[in-house]
């Protein structure tokens, strides 16, 4: 009873943060990351303060959502899982028929006052659904469970893929697979999945991908094909990052970024601005911050008291990781351009709110643990 871990927890339980169901280390990690993001955004947005201002307002809103989510105990999240999943799949079907087309893709539902992107809701609903489903069952899951889970993953993934939104659909599929790995599915099956995925690629290439998606992959392999569009983005992005060196060219002094060589530099390509202006050092700091948040998320998962909390925490954390890995990978030329923002860093609203909502769920899982010790 006297071990230091216990005393720490006890002390923590009486703090204000704990009563607000907020996790202090995670909040600090998020604030530092978001602050860092704003500094880079100011430079990436060509010193346009109005842009930063709008981002701050969004952050405020996202923080509100996070705090709200943190108040909801995991058992209620579990109770919501099925209805939320069903609603979000129905909304995706709705988008197919009544969606508003923007930039060539049908992703939004026009609700009069604002536009709503149901694929954002799926990002929360799918991990919740899988965690809830597996919570009721033995782990590792049986073959029947695996089949049902596969269906639960494939339906929304396919609907989002059809919009078409390749980036988000891959992300959602990945988060589903991660839940399975954490749930203890045997490595043999994981290997088979990987092989199946690899052999599925040529089928997808020929039958499922749209022309522009195929173009993107071609361009990734050979950027010179499209000097004005995405290929140009990758070339310019690599030059920007590479020319940053150890310590960068200095904040607001990136020649690539400021002279407009870099496209979409305040959204998807904000990492290049960071790389150019703050150098390897700045990148290292960013990865440390991300690493800290991921580490805390995994820790929360391990500390969780039931399967639902464990799996949900793990899924949220891993989705967050995939998100940043895909974005950075694309910007530094490791992965094709799929159009995902850098989480909690890029300019933009919807994805930010969803991400912070999931952070709120992490906090809820951690701060609603029961007091008994085992």
């Amino acid at each position: 009873m006297n071990n230091p871990q216990q005393t720490y927890t006890h002390k923590a339980r009486h703090s204000i943060m704990w009563r607000l169901h907020l996790d202090t280390p995670l909040i600090i990690g998020l604030l530092v990351l978001l602050g860092y993001g704003l500094i880079v955004l100011y430079s990436a947005g060509s010193e346009n303060f109005a842009l930063v201002e709008r981002q701050i307002i969004r952050l405020g809103l996202a923080f509100g959502v996070m705090i709200f989510m943190a108040q909801i105990p995991p058992r209620i999240l579990a109770a919501w899982a099925l209805p939320l999943y069903v609603i979000s799949v129905l909304l995706l079907v709705g988008v197919m028929f009544f969606g508003v087309t923007g930039k060539g893709a049908q992703r939004w539902l026009d609700l009069g006052l604002f536009r709503f992107q149901p694929s954002e809701l799926v990002k929360l609903a799918l991990p919740m659904m899988l965690a809830w489903y597996l919570n009721e069952r033995h782990l590792p899951p049986t073959n029947k469970d695996l089949f049902i889970i596969a269906l639960l993953i494939i339906v929304p993934t396919y609907l989002i893929f059809k919009q078409p939104d390749l980036g988000t659909s891959l992300l959602i599929a990945a988060s589903g697979v991660f839940v399975l790995i954490l749930a203890g599915i045997s490595w043999k099956i994981v290997t088979w999945l990987a092989i199946a995925g690899a052999s599925f690629a040529p089928i997808a290439w020929n039958f499922l991908l749209r022309d522009y998606q195929r173009d993107r992959i071609n361009i990734f392999l050979n950027p010179e094909l499209d000097p004005l569009g995405k290929g140009y983005h990758i070339i310019q992005s690599k030059i920007a990052i590479g020319s940053g060196g150890y310590y960068g060219k200095g904040w607001l002094n990136g020649t690539q970024s400021q002279l407009e060589f870099l496209p979409e530099r305040h959204t998807d390509f904000i990492f290049s601005v960071l790389g150019e202006e703050l150098g390897f050092f700045g990148v290292f700091i960013l990865l440390l911050m991300y690493g800290f948040i991921i580490g805390r998320g995994l820790f929360i998962g391990v500390q969780a008291q039931d399967t639902f909390g464990r799996l949900l925490a793990g899924a949220i954390t891993l989705t967050f990781f995939v998100y940043l890995f895909v974005n950075i990978g694309m910007v530094i030329g490791l992965l094709p351009v799929v159009g995902l923002p850098l989480p909690l860093f890029s300019y933009g609203g919807t994805a930010m709110v969803t991400m912070m909502a999931s952070m709120g769920m992490l906090m809820s899982i951690h701060t609603h643990r029961r007091l008994h010790s085992t």
Partner: protein, 617 residues
């Protein structure tokens, strides 16, 4: 054993999760390391290479805007062109004290009002600091000279030449052509931003909006080499933009101008079409407004003035005006009555000046208080007898009427290539139940018989229904444009040109209706005065739509009724009678009787067009 399996093994599951978490953590660390290694490779190992590339990165890709397609009328008269305009541009980053500079410029160029400054500041907020922001567009030679001599004092201020849309015919065509304006945030979200990177304008309404994709063209680019300061040294590579396609219209600009002249100082619509194919020859909604200020960015004051005007110049009456069609629909109703056997050519009624559902009940009055005496279908159309149609409509019933009139295009889109059209309303029982939760009353059918009550129609529907009579019962979708293409090569547009027959009828019934309409203009009918001395044959029908409700025994007195509540004057006509070439609908708001106020305008349109055709041949 079986029982034990149903109990979850918490300790085992926790351990499983822990071990999996550990593996996953290791994978994540490994992958983060890959990212770091790749960045390190770029930034540390390849640093010299990329540094050199970056220093030499003087190769800039400059997007080139495509030229917007021009718009021509049927005789290749240009209706929308591109002109180079000179504008005063400011790069905020390069100006130290922007307020001071603005004040100075205002003194040099007094044309620039405080409104311009306000609008400029508004735009400044949403633009990037190193990009040009327009202060004033449309500098003339004197302005240019005035600015040019002072330019050295203001770094960051420059005069730029741009290609901009210009509408030579100004307000006379605006409700047909529409206009282009600066792209706003909402539009930005729906367009292909790559293709619009160099474009500043987009079609906002009318044809400019409907044919935006084709008119816009495809972006081109230029690879240029610059020096360290960004000055252009040479062009390395150029991919020319693909200009937008020119649009060719069925509109005859001469007729359009004539119609616009006839409608000056009036409110209303003139639409003329070719009944043989649905081509729109002229489309005027009055009053109009000059679209050109909208292109360069209209000032808030000027825009508010347009918005506040009681004449509603921004409102496109031809597409969106929902008018009671009044007696202009008597020919179509008459045909329906004959076809359904409610009346025949020889049916006579005795008109005493009003119609009643029952003795002693409300009187539905004829426009001629003393009545028309003995009336047949033909004379009922000729003299626009209301009583005849009250009775016939009641016997037809609302179900027959709404179904029959729908085949004439009422209550539906005419399919015109403009996109802002409204379907107006052809009422029926279901509609009334749904909107007012009330059954349909017979009295409501009675006034439907003279095109009033719930029935509303757009001028486009009215002209197209008349065209269907002229065209022996066939209706075409309306079309303004007929071809697109570059350098004078015209590719026909694949628009829906299928004609649809109206309900089945006997040819002799159609003949009777057409004869009735001819007698309106030619044989002592209601528009005999307006068409007196015409050197062409024609058929027509007047309409007078009541806006004010008159009490049972009160006379309608034009002088007493407030101007905005006076009757709308309507007239539809086609000519020549034997082989129609043109159908016209005139709607003049608050002018009074149709045969007196709208028919003369319709005659002038028909006359003008037939003369033009003779001259052209």
């Amino acid at each position: 054993m079986a029982k034990r399996q149903t109990i979850k093994n918490h300790i085992q599951e926790t351990n499983l999760y822990r071990s999996r978490s550990l593996v996953v953590s290791l994978i994540i660390i490994f992958m983060l390391f890959i990212l770091l290694a790749r960045v390190g490779y770029l930034q540390v190992l390849m640093y010299q290479d990329y540094r050199t590339l970056s220093n030499q990165n003087r190769i800039k890709i400059v997007p080139l805007p495509p030229n917007r397609g021009l718009i021509y009328d049927r005789n290749n008269v240009i209706l929308a062109e591109n002109r180079s305009v000179f504008s005063l541009e400011i790069i905020p980053e390069r100006v130290k004290n922007i307020d001071l500079v603005l004040e100075d410029i205002q003194q040099v160029l007094t044309k620039i009002t405080d409104d311009h400054i306000d609008d400029f500041k508004q735009r400044l907020k949403s633009s990037r600091r190193f990009e040009q922001v327009t202060l004033f567009s449309g500098l003339d030679d004197i302005d240019k000279a005035l600015i040019a001599v002072n330019l050295h004092k203001y770094p960051g201020v420059s005069i730029e030449a741009r290609i901009q849309r210009y509408y030579p015919f100004g307000e006379t065509m605006v409700h047909m052509l529409g206009y282009v304006g600066r792209i706003n945030d909402r539009e930005l979200a729906t367009i292909d931003s790559d293709n619009y990177r160099a474009t500043r304008h987009i079609g906002k309404v009318g044809l400019e909006k409907f044919y935006e994709d084709q008119l816009h063209g495809k972006i081109g680019y230029q690879e240029i080499e610059t020096d360290v300061r960004g000055r252009v040294l040479r062009v390395l590579k150029r991919k020319d933009p693909v200009p937008g396609k020119d649009l060719y219209l069925n509109i005859d600009s001469r007729l359009q101008l004539e119609a616009s002249r006839l409608m000056s100082n009036k409110r209303g619509v003139i639409v003329a079409t070719d009944p043989n194919n649905g081509h729109v020859l002229a489309l005027v909604s009055a009053p109009g407004y000059d679209p050109n200020p909208f292109v360069s960015g209209i000032s808030t004051t000027a825009y508010n003035k347009l918005l506040a005007s009681p004449d509603r110049p921004l409102f496109n009456r031809a597409l969106r005006g929902q008018y009671a069609p009044a007696s202009t629909v008597k020919p179509m109703l008459g045909l329906l009555g004959l076809e359904k056997g409610i009346v025949s050519a020889s049916t006579r009624i005795w008109d005493i000046g009003y119609f009643q559902l029952k003795e002693g009940e409300r009187r539905y009055r004829d426009w001629r208080p003393e009545g028309h005496g003995w009336v047949t279908m033909k004379t009922a159309i000729r003299d626009s007898c209301d009583t005849y149609f009250y009775e016939m409509a009641l016997n037809l019933g609302i179900d027959n009427i709404s179904k029959g009139m729908e085949t004439f295009g009422f209550g539906d889109y005419t399919g015109i290539d403009m996109g802002e059209e409204v379907p107006a309303l052809m009422p029926n029982r279901g509609w009334k139940q749904a909107t007012e939760n009330m059954p349909w009353f017979p009295g409501e059918t009675v006034i439907i018989g003279i095109g009033q009550g719930y029935w509303t129609a757009t001028p486009l529907q009215i002209v197209n229904a008349t065209a269907a009579i002229a065209n022996d019962g066939y209706i075409y979708p309306l079309s303004i444009a007929y071809a697109m293409g570059n350098d004078g090569v015209k590719e026909a547009l694949s628009i829906d040109t299928l004609k649809h027959p109206v309900f089945n009828f006997k040819p002799e019934n159609m003949q009777l209706i057409q004869d009735g309409m001819r007698s309106v203009n030619q044989f002592r009918g209601s528009a005999f005065g307006a068409f007196k001395g015409a050197n062409f044959t024609s058929a027509g029908k007047s309409g007078t739509a009541q806006l004010a409700t008159i009490a049972q025994d009160e006379e309608y007195d034009e002088e007493k009724v407030a101007e905005r509540l006076r009757d709308n004057a309507l007239f539809v006509a086609y000519a020549p009678f034997e082989k129609p070439q043109i159908t016209v609908a005139v709607i003049a708001e608050n002018l009074g009787g149709g045969s007196r106020h709208a028919a003369p305008l319709a005659r002038q349109i028909l006359e003008y067009y037939l003369e033009l055709n003779d001259k052209d041949e």
